[in-house]
């Protein structure tokens, strides 16, 4: 079983039990706890915050409907993550039916022409956004769960229903692509260009 990293697992168990009994308010509190997780995954998969909120809402409603089937075989976060990622991947599939999810959706960012010394914070954000969104969807979702949501390899494997080895190879491939596309950012001294190191730690 995946480890539960939530600081208040007991409170969560009570909210879950009440939600299973049909208490909408309890499920609302549960949704509030996992809102940033669901919206975060959907946003980094689509790059659109309004759309991400809509997808997260859709995923929460699906979770509410499926809650009687949740047997506690994995943590609630993993179970919810499975619904959120499936909802988002289904959306991407509908938007680009001809585009397999293991191919890139966007062209790679303008990594090689970016002027190294003059990257402002907004430009850097766009560079990272474009680089992440250009990853193949299956690699991107693994990277997002690891880097932005802090899931362990085992939790990612359970969420995406893939073997651990596949998680590691997808992460490896995603990072390899990102290293190439974000080369200007990675070569930049961290104390220059507006001190993005501090900003990055704030954003976490």
């Amino acid at each position: 079983m995946a480890q539960d990293t939530h600081p208040d697992p007991n409170g969560e168990a009570i909210l879950l039990a009440r939600s299973r009994a049909g208490d909408k308010e309890a499920f609302g509190m549960l949704a509030q706890r996992y809102c940033s997780f669901a919206v975060g995954v959907a946003y980094r998969m689509t790059g659109n915050s309004q759309l991400a909120e809509d997808l997260a809402q859709e995923a929460f409603i699906k979770a509410w409907r499926k809650l009687p089937q949740f047997r506690g075989d994995c943590s609630f976060r993993v179970w919810l993550g499975r619904i959120v990622t499936n909802t988002t991947l289904d959306y991407l599939r509908r938007q680009n039916p001809e585009q397999p999810l293991d191919e890139t959706l966007l062209p790679a960012g303008p990594a090689e022409d970016a002027p190294l010394r003059h990257l402002e914070r907004e430009e850097m954000r766009q560079l990272v956004r474009q680089a992440v969104l250009s990853l193949p969807a299956q690699c991107r979702v693994a990277l997002i769960l690891r880097e932005y949501e802090g899931l362990s390899y085992r939790e990612i494997a359970e969420t995406l229903d893939i073997p651990m080895g596949t998680v590691m190879s997808r992460l490896h491939y995603a990072r390899q692509l990102l290293r190439e596309r974000l080369a200007p950012l990675l070569e930049l001294p961290e104390h220059s260009a507006g001190g993005w190191r501090e900003d990055a730690s704030d954003a976490r």
């Binding site: 308010e25 809402q57 880097e147 362990s152 974000l182 990055a200």
Partner: protein
């Protein structure tokens, strides 16, 4: 245990992600202290991880999460409470399994009945002095030629012996059997075979969906 440089390189990402078990983590810490190439790669992974966090979710505040969850509660459809009683797993399986076994038995009975009806009809065709044979002889006049009658009688006797019925039944009874009872039995059993087949097919499809 001797671990090569290449093996440790393949574990760098897992090391950076905190996914290595203590023994390997210590090996890696030791190796990174001594190997400039691995130290550089590790730093690159860490830089990449930090760089990715420049891209944050816009408007991700606690107030926004509260507003979204309040809106969600209004949108949730009604769902009946879940009973805490859990059916034992054998009940889940016993009911559909019982249905399948029962369906298979009835299906087999229907197939046998149909075969029996067809066999009686075939035997009846060869019974002498009944309307069916006259009708057939009208279509195929060569059946009246010498030698055929003995063959037909032989086949009839064999068929009747196998089926356990008397070949000396009155002609009117044979006619009744051939023109009404057996066709009805064959038709009803054919209907049963088709319906049970469809029932079984739908059952299998539903079971697959449930799994």
């Amino acid at each position: 245990m001797q671990v090569t440089h290449d093996e440790l390189v393949s574990l760098l990402a897992a090391f950076a992600d905190g996914e290595l078990e203590p023994r390997r983590r210590m090996l890696m810490e030791e190796h990174v202290r001594q190997c400039a190439e691995c130290a550089r790669r590790l730093e690159e992974l860490r830089r990449l991880s930090r760089a990715l966090h420049i891209w944050e979710v816009p408007g991700a505040t606690a107030e926004r999460a509260r507003a979204l969850s309040s809106a969600l509660v209004q949108m949730l459809p009604h769902r009946p409470a879940v009973s805490h009683f859990r059916r034992p797993s054998w009940i889940t399986w016993a009911f559909p399994a019982g249905l399948v076994v029962w369906g298979a038995l009835v299906e087999a009975a229907a197939v046998l009945t149909m075969a029996f009806g067809l066999a009686v009809m075939a035997a009846g065709l060869f019974a002498p002095a009944n309307a069916w044979l006259s009708w057939l002889a009208g279509i195929f006049p060569s059946l009246n030629a010498p030698g055929w009658l003995e063959t037909i009688q032989g086949l009839r006797d064999l068929g009747c012996q196998v089926l356990g019925i008397s070949s000396t039944l009155p002609a009117s009874l044979w006619d009744w059997l051939m023109s009404f009872l057996m066709p009805t039995i064959v038709f009803v059993s054919l209907l049963a075979v088709v319906c049970l087949g469809m029932w079984g097919w739908f059952g299998v499809q539903m079971a697959r969906r449930q799994l």
